[in-house]
């Protein structure tokens, strides 16, 4: 062994600078890779957010309920820089995704030192849903980023809270809520965890939150009126019992509970994760409020996901991936097994990221690729799909696009089509290969399969 190898083996040389060099190189590569992508609509939800940048109206799907007012406000601020709504949306979501690893590192560094900061940075960077946060043009990353800002503003363990910091923390958490109201449970969990360990921050933080929430609520009320409330009731009910694929939906709908049971090793893995976070919960005495907030947010959000979210949308797991990495990093000095656990988690993340990501930065989202393919056909086709109905209708005005949710309507439309008829679906049809496959670019982006049916 060389002298330096011997010193490393004896722990006389810190590997942290080397780790940072590798992590920053990977970070630069990921940032460039995200920036190289041509902005393109990947879903109807992204299309609706795009509309919201020029005309905010929840009833008119600009964007869809609950409206994401904070995210829309930031997107509008990007408009003069980006030039058009699509580039503004891409610039905003890309910037937010790229800001998440350093913000996670800041939280860990403030509370647990440089080794934890490196671990938090690397785990946030390598989590397999990072490309989805940066490229799907959706709001998921914004809630996570401002939640991390909230955590970064919390006092350290044993530190006397400063009113100014607590006030700003409240603003950050409320802004996270304004960006991503659908993650209310995540933010409520973070607030409960933080306030439980540092009660004196609650007052200033709540005042700060009201500084954001009151104007936002009044602005929504002025724009949408009472119809916003009834739309909310309808949307929440519909999501839970019909299209959201939750355990409350009727027979024939999948949900997270059944999905976990079908994933090989899914149930043991879920139990392992819950047990690991449970161990973290047991070690919270004397812990930094940021760690308590992250742990309670993780548990609350995990319960929310299993009971109220759709297993078809992996991006809903992104807060768990980021918070899970942050919790592991912040436990680096509190639990002996934290270092090997972090190494194993990082290896698992890198493997998942590499296995699920198309590294071609010029690849289009499956929906845009399918649109281009259909547009290139000489005879205007008829299409039935349950993904991107609105986007296809806007992009292909001469194509009849049926919503596959209305199966009877779509079946009649396809059967009586004058020209070629296709089904565009994420579900393989039994006993035949698809005519064209539009591959998802990363974990969380479903591959679309095109079948000619007539």
């Amino acid at each position: 062994m060389t002298d330096s190898a011997v010193r490393i083996a004896r722990g006389q040389v810190s590997l942290i600078p080397v780790g940072w060099a590798i992590a920053l190189a990977a970070y630069g590569a990921e940032a460039i890779w995200v920036a190289l992508h041509r902005p393109a609509i990947s879903s109807d939800d992204a299309l609706f957010l795009l509309h919201g940048l020029t005309r905010f109206s929840v009833l008119d799907l600009s964007p869809q309920f609950p409206g994401y007012p904070g995210f829309i406000a930031m997107g509008r601020m990007m408009l003069p820089v980006a030039g058009d709504p699509l580039h503004a949306l891409a610039m905003l979501t890309g910037t937010i995704a790229i800001a998440i690893p350093p913000m996670a590192a800041l939280v860990a560094w403030r509370n647990c030192g440089s080794a934890a900061a490196l671990a938090a940075f690397a785990l946030a960077l390598a989590q397999p849903l990072a490309p989805d946060l940066g490229l799907s043009l959706l709001t998921d990353g914004s809630g996570i980023l401002f939640l991390l800002v909230f955590l970064a503003l919390l006092p350290r363990a044993g530190e006397a809270p400063q009113s100014g910091h607590s006030f700003l923390a409240g603003i950050a958490l409320a802004w996270a809520l304004a960006c991503r109201p659908s993650d209310t449970v995540l933010f409520a969990g973070a607030a409960i965890g933080a306030f439980a360990l540092a009660r004196r921050i609650a007052g200033p933080a709540i005042v700060g939150a009201l500084f954001v929430l009151v104007p936002v609520v009044l602005a929504i009320a002025a724009q949408e009126g009472p119809a916003y409330v009834s739309e909310g009731v309808r949307f929440i009910g519909g999501h839970a019992t019909l299209w959201g694929n939750t355990p409350f939906a009727g027979p024939g709908h999948g949900n997270w509970l059944s999905a976990l049971a079908t994933i090989p090793g899914g149930v043991p893995l879920a139990v392992l994760i819950v047990a690991a976070v449970g161990v973290a919960l047991m070690r919270l005495r004397g812990a930094p409020p940021a760690l308590a907030a992250a742990v309670v947010a993780f548990i609350a959000y995990a319960v929310w996901i299993v009971t109220f979210q759709n297993p078809d949308q992996l991006r809903h797991l992104a807060p768990l991936a980021v918070l899970g990495g942050l919790i592991a990093a912040m436990l680096i000095r509190r639990i002996e097994l934290a270092r090997p656990a972090i190494t194993a988690l990082l290896a698992l993340e890198v493997w998942c990221l590499a296995a699920t990501t198309q590294f071609d930065a010029y690849a289009l989202p499956p929906l845009s690729a399918a649109t281009e393919w259909l547009e290139a056909q000489s005879a205007a086709p008829t299409v039935a799909t349950n993904l991107g109905v609105e986007a296809l209708r806007r992009a292909l005005p001469h194509t009849r696009v049926y919503d596959s949710y209305y199966a009877g309507d779509a079946a009649l439309g396809l059967a009586t089509a004058a020209g070629p008829a296709y089904r565009l679906t994420t579900t393989p049809l039994a006993a035949r290969p698809p005519d064209v496959t539009f591959a998802g670019r990363f974990s969380g982006e479903p591959t679309l399969l095109l079948y000619r049916v007539n």
């Binding site: 002025a222 724009q223 519909g238 019992t241 409350f248 009649l412």
Partner: protein, 190 residues
């Protein structure tokens, strides 16, 4: 804090219990029997289960009766003829006709409530929901024209702004033009 948590979950449960949604759509509040019953009707017709189709049609009947009396005399016969002939394509055409009549009805309502932004907006959005349901069944050029007209109708409603900032008054002329274009694309008269 536990009271706040309890109140939050109670609100969630109330929201769930209050009104189960009956149609997949992100937009617009309130029950619409024609839209809500559409999938059951067409699924039954596609399978040739005309007894189930008749059951689905029963829930739509009050709305069809209203259209027959106020908007489109003959619409009830179009449905009954399609059902009697067990003709799924004719049933689909009858639905397209009924949805067109609903679009006309909602746009007329919006025109009459142009001074009330929230009411007018809900009515135009409802018209959009009916359009979305038949978008693929209209001739492509007509479909594009209706979509464009409905978007212009929404723009013509103005905007109350946020605390008055960015407020725009409604534009009756632009609304009338948009409404006329939608009617023309649907082959309807005012």
């Amino acid at each position: 804090m536990s009271r706040i948590t309890f109140a939050f979950f109670a609100l969630c449960l109330m929201a769930l219990g209050a009104s189960p949604a009956s149609a997949y759509s992100y937009a617009a509040a309130g029950a619409e029997p024609l839209l809500d019953g559409r999938d059951a009707l067409f699924s039954a017709a596609a399978k040739g289960d005309w007894s189930a189709a008749a059951t689905a049609l029963t829930a739509m009947q009050p709305d069809l009766d209203y259209l027959e009396q106020n908007e489109d005399p003959g619409i009830a016969k179009a449905f009954s003829d399609a059902m009697a002939a067990k003709d799924a394509k004719a049933l689909q055409a009858a639905f397209t006709r009924a949805a067109s009549a609903e679009i006309v009805r909602r746009l007329n309502g919006a025109r009459d409530n142009l001074a009330d932004y929230q009411t007018a907006k809900v009515l135009v959005v409802k018209a959009q929901r009916f359009y979305t349901a038949i978008a693929a069944d209209l001739p492509p050029d007509s479909s594009t024209a209706v979509a464009d007209g409905l978007k212009r109708a929404l723009d013509a409603l103005g905007n109350p702004g946020v605390f008055g900032v960015g407020a725009r008054k409604p534009d009756p002329d632009a609304f009338a033009k948009a409404r006329a274009d939608v009617f023309a694309a649907l082959g309807r008269t005012a």
